[in-house]
């Protein structure tokens, strides 16, 4: 009986001394280890100001496969360190601009618009970035703060064999939703979803009119009972096996899905489309502005830009890069729409404080209903 109390032999012989020792080592090692790790990973911002390394915040894999290596090769001594915590949340992007940790940040028109209004962006000297002329004029105009890199339109994808008729407009989607209740998917992003709805109602997707925004809100709420889900990843996936019949989806997603399931059709609705436009913006007062300028210029070089497009499969905006881009992308009617379709595309803008609040409130109500 006594044995059961004494014989506590556990598998781990952690004596108190060993524990304290370990804790002390850990406590002492933390700052040392942290600093060592940062040094090893090449974070030379605070140290060596002569090494010319800039920090780029981006999505993982959202850059040409060999782009960064090619840059380092072309400009010896200059390096781009890519950190991958880009986000689609406005607040987080603004914080990233404010933090001073990043030089170049992937940011869309709305985020850059707000950052610019808040005085967080570096004004660029375009004479130092001559390759900007490679970008089509309308995209340049829409993204004046930095270099635009890619865009994505929000349209409709559906299975004609399941739906049984042709869809050409947002009106068709709203009409058919009750018939395919539970098999309709919307995008789970405020601007994309409400923006498309505004297009459906015939308004601008960048309106700040409270009544219009309210109408859009009501329209989404009215269709919500028939929605399968609001998704922000794998949005159109259900279309492949038919569990989804109609989806509000981005062009590049549909292009990829079509390769797997040819029965999927893409629609550029007649009322028009909302689109995002993103690019690289520069935070105020970077340490090595000249390296930043060199990088931005480098990224728009036709060969490098083509590398980016081929790696990501996104819709693009540098015509001179076409010869280097995969045929499946450059000849895709989805990704490279006709001029007529492009005219109906509206990129999102920063709506100002009031407008943003209206949209936010409307979106919350949609989600809460």
């Amino acid at each position: 009986m006594h044995d059961s109390e004494i014989d506590f032999t556990p598998p781990l012989a952690l004596s108190r001394r060993a524990l304290m020792r370990r804790a002390a080592i850990a406590a002492a090692a933390l700052p040392a280890g942290g600093a060592l790790l940062e040094a090893l990973s090449g974070n030379a911002l605070a140290a060596g100001a002569d090494t010319g390394t800039i920090v780029l915040n981006n999505y993982p894999g959202w850059i040409g496969k060999s782009e960064l290596a090619a840059f380092a090769k072309k400009y010896p001594g200059d390096k781009v360190k890519m950190v991958t915590n880009a986000t689609s949340s406005v607040a987080e992007v603004i914080l990233q601009f404010k933090s001073g940790n990043f030089d170049v940040i992937l940011s869309d028109t709305t985020d850059s618009g707000q950052a610019s209004a808040a005085g967080l962006l570096q004004k660029l000297d375009w004479s130092k970035i001559p390759n900007i002329k490679n970008v089509s004029a309308n995209f340049r105009k829409a993204y004046p703060w930095g270099i635009p890199t890619d865009y994505g339109k929000v349209g409709i994808a559906y299975r004609p064999d399941i739906v049984g008729e042709k869809i050409t407009s947002w009106h068709d989607l709203w009409r058919l939703a009750p018939k395919f209740s539970g098999r309709v998917v919307f995008i789970d992003l405020e601007r994309d979803c409400l923006g498309s709805t505004l297009k459906y109602l015939g308004y601008s997707s960048n309106t700040t009119d409270a009544k219009q925004i309210d109408a859009a809100k009501k329209a989404v709420i009215s269709i919500k009972p028939h929605l399968q889900a609001f998704l922000n990843t794998n949005v159109g996936q259900g279309l492949v096996n038919g569990s989804t019949a109609i989806a509000m989806d981005w062009d590049y997603d549909v292009a990829l899905l079509k390769q797997k399931q040819p029965k999927i059709e893409w629609v550029a609705p007649t009322e028009g489309m909302h689109a995002y436009l993103e690019g690289f913006s520069v935070a105020k007062n970077p340490d090595h502005l000249d390296v930043v300028e060199k990088f931005l210029n480098f990224a728009l070089d036709p060969v490098q830009y083509a590398d980016f497009v081929n790696t990501t499969g996104t819709a693009y905006m540098v015509p001179s890069a076409s010869p280097h881009i995969k045929k499946s992308i450059s000849t895709s009617p989805i990704l490279k729409p006709s001029a007529a379709v492009l005219k109906r595309v509206e990129f999102d803008h920063y709506l100002g404080a009031k407008g943003t609040q209206l949209f936010d409130a409307a979106w919350q109500e949609v989600k809460a209903s």
């Binding site: 004494i6 952690l14 804790a23 700052p31 942290g34 940062e38 990973s41 920090v55 797997k260």
Partner: protein, 275 residues
């Protein structure tokens, strides 16, 4: 008829265990799926593992995450054990305050705490990065550790320790041989929990990482921004295997040390009866 052999409880237990493993099996199966979209079964391939193992972001992210998780578990255990021990003999009021602090750490929503800590660090120009993340994790991990260890400690019989002390063992010896041993299941449980939490954490790590290499969960989040591929599943499996490997290594090391010290310990126990 003792309840111990009741078949119903065994059946239920295995059902729960199966429930726990079901997604894991799905992940493993899908990691071999040739179909990029995983819309169905596209045939088997090891291609994704190749991709995952060679992905630089993934490798660095895993390294970072492991360091953070281990460090945070250690710190949390240290805080948890010492705190629980102090608490046992502390005056009533101090106990209440301590409990308050422990609970408060648990009920603060992670996103709130992470943001607040972020602002704090930025304000005092404290460098963001791995140390910051470890601190952040340890704050709430130590609370969980404390709770678990306390739950165990509440049921401990103080008379064993008193007996040991009466027989001439130093407080140190009492702690080492008696207290720590009886707390061991709780310590193991708490350590495992802290490690697992840190390992999977996204929110705190996101806010406090600065420009340091992103921990693995954040890398994964970014990878699935548009689409979930079998590669992500492959990463999940690889990560799990690696962690299991590391854990077994750690346990074997400790076990060997324990066994080596075992005979010494038996004799040592007798020491308590001598002087």
């Amino acid at each position: 008829m003792s309840i111990r052999r009741h078949p119903v409880s065994a059946l239920l237990a295995f059902a729960v265990l199966a429930f726990l493993w079901l997604p894991l099996l799905a992940v493993v199966v899908n990691s071999f799926n040739r179909d990029t979209l995983m819309a169905g079964w596209g045939g088997a391939t090891g291609h994704w593992y190749n991709l995952a193992a060679n992905d630089h972001d993934v490798r660095e992210g895993l390294k970072t995450t492991l360091i953070i998780a281990f460090a945070s578990a250690l710190v949390s255990l240290a805080v948890g054990i010492s705190g629980a021990l102090w608490w046992r003999r502390a005056p009533r009021r101090a106990q209440a305050v301590y409990d308050g602090l422990v609970y408060a750490r648990i009920i603060v929503p992670e996103v709130v705490f992470a943001t607040a800590l972020f602002f704090l660090f930025v304000h005092f120009k404290f460098r963001l990065g791995l140390p910051a993340i470890i601190i952040g994790h340890s704050v709430w991990n130590s609370a969980y550790a404390t709770l678990i260890i306390q739950a165990r400690m509440v049921g401990l019989d103080p008379s064993v320790e008193e007996a040991a002390a009466d027989l001439g063992a130093t407080p140190w010896r009492v702690f080492r041989r008696v207290t720590l041993h009886s707390l061991m299941p709780a310590i193991i449980a708490a350590g495992l929990l802290a490690f697992t939490f840190s390992f999977d954490d996204v929110v705190t790590s996101y806010f406090l990482q600065g420009t340091a290499q992103s921990p693995l969960p954040i890398v994964l989040f970014g990878l699935i921004r548009f689409r979930l591929t079998p590669e992500v599943n492959a990463i999940g499996v690889l990560v799990m295997l690696l962690t299991v490997g590391l854990m077994s290594l750690a346990v074997t090391m400790f076990a060997t040390a324990g066994r080596l010290g075992r005979s010494e310990k038996r004799a040592g126990f007798l020491d308590m009866y001598r002087r």
